[in-house]
């Protein structure tokens, strides 16, 4: 953390008892639901501001923001959407930064089904493999890159079941309708461990980094709570929470 950020963070903290509590609305990518709730709870306690979280797919947020949605901040599931919004003048210039880097896992709800090296993909003895829609979800696109890198894409493509987003991909696997699927490590991480089933944490070199960027939207420009939230997201306290959910930084 840069000294400037540190100082502005503490200055902001010190100023809060005097400042009026403000409300802000944060559009949060579905995969970041759990950590966002934890961070927002701490943020509200520490800052006195009120943070309202709206969860959803990044592509949908884009359409809503372009059509006047009242969000102050966007925590996207990718870095493309915030960049695109920035180019189109819908954001506060200079506010964009990477708040988390996602890790992809191959997961099954059954213990022992997925081995720690992902050999299960080579055997291909399953009917359905759930992925998030690669056209719209960064984790889905990363899953396709991994299968291509392993030269298993052609063989497995016919077994794809596509979910609208990573949350639904998790649901397909959790209910056992798909034997396994590519999801985000954050979805099955609890206190730094994999909570249930069996998983292969995909080596990061097999796909492009899933950089998740945050950006202040034009509407948040004059909202002190929006800047406070972005500063808070850069704090060590928030970063520790982000990492405990299986993200990198």
């Amino acid at each position: 953390m840069s000294l400037f950020v540190k100082i502005s963070f503490f200055v902001a903290l010190a100023a809060f008892p005097l400042a009026q509590a403000d409300e802000l609305q944060i559009a949060v990518a579905a995969n970041f639901t759990a950590p966002a709730k934890r961070i927002a709870a701490d943020f509200e306690k520490d800052s006195g501001h009120k943070a309202q979280l709206i969860f959803g797919a990044t592509g949908k947020f884009y359409a809503q923001i372009k059509n006047g949605a009242p969000f102050d901040v966007l925590l996207a599931a990718d870095d493309e959407t915030p960049t695109k919004l920035e180019k189109e003048g819908a954001t506060v210039v200079g506010s964009r930064f990477t708040y988390a880097i996602g890790r992809l896992v191959l997961w099954s709800a059954k213990p022992g089904y997925v081995d720690a090296q992902g050999e299960v993909l080579k055997k291909g003895e399953f009917q359905h493999l759930a992925i998030a829609n690669p056209k719209t979800a960064p984790y889905g696109a990363a899953a396709v890159e991994v299968l291509a890198a392993l030269k298993r894409l052609d063989a497995i493509q016919t077994k794809f079941v596509q979910a609208e987003n990573i949350a639904q991909a998790h649901q397909f696997v959790a209910t056992g309708n798909a034997e396994l699927g590519f999801i985000a490590l954050s979805q099955i991480s609890k206190d730094g461990k994999i909570a249930a089933g069996s998983a292969w944490i995909v080596p990061a070199h097999l796909h492009q980094a899933i950089r998740q960027d945050a950006v202040m939207l034009t509407k948040g420009k004059d909202n002190p709570a929006a800047q406070a939230w972005l500063n808070y997201l850069k704090s060590d306290k928030a970063k520790t929470i982000v990492k405990s959910f299986g993200y990198e930084l």
Partner: protein, 225 residues
């Protein structure tokens, strides 16, 4: 212009809606007949169950169907025992879901039409020594024709408009479960607004024409209660 994938989605939707409508007319007619004629205490509960999809969000239906038809669900166990495999992510699964989803839109117009016939014509048929089955096919069904037309059109159109349930149990597989509404959603999510407009505009036009046909060809028909 619509892409080959869009055309495939349109064809699949047509196939799904046709299959569902035919099945619904076969399943819905006896249910509607029973609901219209019975004095049983079960009339209320059965009518309420049939009407559930009108008030339930499709995601509720989709979620429970996903659990029920999954490997640990009652229906899933049964289909596996019968050697049919699992229903989610298959065309068959969508048909089953659509039958539930569109059931009230078929049963209620037919039931109303049967109700409107009253006892008179059927009693007259009985005095002419028509068996109940004979009376049903040669008196009740022809008299209830407008109800059947309404039921078929609404069942078809409602299945075409299905989205939430398909999203929950479909898995977005080309030629199997990727119907038009899901394809539109994909285009919008991928910011392919031009392609989305082709399909979305087409859906608006289709729905309007269907309802226009319903209200001009069948002016007496009104849906359900």
């Amino acid at each position: 212009m619509p892409s080959p994938a869009d055309l495939a989605a349109i064809w699949l939707t047509f196939k799904l809606a046709t299959t569902t409508t035919v099945l619904l007319l076969l399943i819905g007619t006896p249910i509607a007949w029973w609901l219209a004629r019975t004095r049983s205490a079960w009339k209320g509960p059965v009518g309420a169950v049939v009407a559930l999809p009108i008030v339930l969000p499709p995601t509720v239906l989709g979620f429970y169907l996903l659990l029920l038809m999954g490997p640990d669900g009652a229906v899933g166990r049964m289909t596996q025992a019968l050697g049919l495999g699992l229903l989610p992510f298959s065309f068959g699964g969508l048909v089953v879901a659509s039958v539930f989803y569109s059931l009230p839109f078929v049963v209620q117009p037919i039931q109303n039409a049967f109700d409107a016939i009253g006892d008179g014509p059927l009693e007259a048929a009985a005095t002419l020594r028509a068996t109940p089955l004979d009376a049903f096919f040669s008196v009740a069904i022809p008299l209830a024709r407008p109800g059947f037309v309404t039921a078929a059109i609404l069942g078809f159109a409602h299945t075409v408009g299905e989205f939430g349930v398909v999203l929950m149990i479909g898995g977005n597989i080309p030629d199997k479960t990727r119907v038009v509404s899901v394809q539109i959603y994909d285009h919008v999510e991928a910011l392919e607004y031009a392609q989305a407009h082709w399909l979305a505009g087409g859906m608006v036009a289709f729905s309007f024409l269907v309802l226009l046909a319903l209200y001009t060809l069948n002016p007496g028909a009104r849906r359900g209660r």
